[in-house]
Amino acid sequence: MAREKNEATGEWLHAGKSATSMYGNFFYWLFREPFPIRQLGNQIVLVMLDAVAVCTVTAVVIGLILAWTAGWNGMKFSVVNWSGAATVYLLLSEAVTMFGGLIFAAKIGTAFTVEIGSMQLSGQLDALRLMAVEPVQHIVIPRVLASVICLVFLNMISQGAAIVAAMVAVRWWFDVSFTIFLQHVFQILRYPILTNSYIRSAIMAFFVSINACGLGFYFNGGAVELGRTTTKSIVLNFIFVISIDCLYGVMDQLTGWSSI
């Protein structure tokens, strides 16, 4: 039992060390020639194609759930006309960004860990080194930068989809017209709410992708260990997404940056 506990602790320490090492390596190689522009383009296309459907569907479902909750409670307090605005505020300031980050960590983060881990396992990373190609530059940097760019765009798409879902839902369930919905939404909507959510998405994408790539890159072992490393990647990245969201929210409250 004690041995298993020690092993588990050791594995987590290794995971932490792997992710940490990758931060240093990323910045070391980011400013060195050649910049992997072609790989970056490829990764943007791959990440967008891979994540757009699942992020949009999740956002639509969240939009529907929040619209139902807000409309139901709005009816109780006779402010049902404001339920659309309340839903949109929650969606833009919190829900879409955080759930988008979690979905991104689960879908793209794990894909990076498994892909790079398999490359390490099969000797592809060593093969790159022997061809005088630095794997961090060729493999990691395009994935991290593509993640940052894509998650911001995915967030925009998801927000749009969630708002449309909420608008249709409150019209359908609570008879709030589109005009009233939009009037109230524009009354409460402030520019910093949107910029805040995009900045938060970019920060989440940066940490999620570096952690995921680092765990794959410094992976050591066989198929079983790769499975465990993938689980660690999800858990670690979920913790990061929730923590970033929390810290950013606290800082936002303290500075009053996006207060309405």
């Binding site: 398999s118 099969s122 000797g123 592809q124 060593d126 093969a127 080194r129 022997l130 061809m131 005088a132 190609v133 060729h138």
Partner: protein, 252 residues
């Protein structure tokens, strides 16, 4: 010439190479033979600078590999090509793109020139028909042939093979053996092969080094190695026969 002197390498929990010394002669095929898990692949990774030994020296044409600066290491690595155990082809690229990758990444030639060179190397290893196939569509032997073409495209002086026939059926092994022989005969490439395959060794080796307990215990020509009473003969042929007979009699 590759010269290895007093090489020591250990993983945190296990010592692997102990005072290993070996010289790889130019234009010959040297086979390092030893049991599984004895450190043959580690030796290749030390030679290519992928692993840092604790002490000792490795020189390739007089350039020190151990603790070399990154830019020196890149220059030294250009002299060597390596065939990994499973080929290590890039899954997301076609056969053609895999072989072309080192040239296109370093922008060494024009697109037409790269096309011509890749075609020539695929012809050399007999894989020209599969230029547009993905690695997942190839057998183990085919993957290794493509990996050899990729390793050779930068025209290295030394080619290192890590278990080139491991996991292959006899006919695929024979094709790989013949390819190694042909490259040696036509291009005078200095080859270092690590393997535990005694049949491969018998076929391709000019010199045979027996790796045991972390160091080279015997270095001899093929004729000497396969003579009755030699350490290689005792270890890999007599011993194999003895174990086989013991198992048969246990079964009976």
């Amino acid at each position: 010439m590759i010269r290895i002197s007093d090489l020591v390498f250990a993983f945190p929990a296990r010592s692997v190479l102990r005072d290993l010394s070996l010289t790889i002669q130019e234009s010959l095929t040297t086979v390092v033979i030893g049991a599984s898990g004895i450190g043959k692949s580690v030796l290749l990774k030390c030679i290519t600078g992928l692993l840092d030994p604790q002490s000792g020296s490795i020189t390739i044409d007089g350039d020190e590999v151990v603790r070399a600066e990154r830019k020196d290491l890149l220059r030294i690595r250009r002299k060597t090509g390596m065939l990994f155990q499973e080929g290590a082809l890039f899954d997301s690229m076609t056969v053609f793109e895999n072989v072309a990758f080192p040239l296109s990444y370093h922008k060494m030639y024009s697109t037409a020139e790269i096309q011509r060179k890749v075609q020539a190397y695929l012809d050399l290893v007999g894989m020209e028909e599969y230029a547009h196939a993905m690695p997942r569509e190839l057998s183990g032997g085919m993957k290794r042939k493509v990996a050899v073409a990729r390793a050779m495209i930068l025209e290295p002086r030394y080619l290192l093979y890590d278990e080139p026939t491991a996991g292959l059926d006899p006919s695929s092994s024979a094709i790989i053996e013949a390819m190694i022989m042909r490259l040696q005969a036509e291009r005078y490439i200095t080859s270092l092969v690590v393997t535990h395959d005694i049949d491969l060794t018998r076929y391709i080796a000019d010199r045979i080094a027996l790796l045991e307990d972390g160091h080279i215990v015997a270095l001899m020509t093929r004729e000497e190695a396969f003579r009755e009473g030699s350490p290689v003969y005792e270890h890999f042929i007599e011993n194999r026969e003895k174990i086989r007979q013991e198992k048969v009699s246990e079964g009976q």
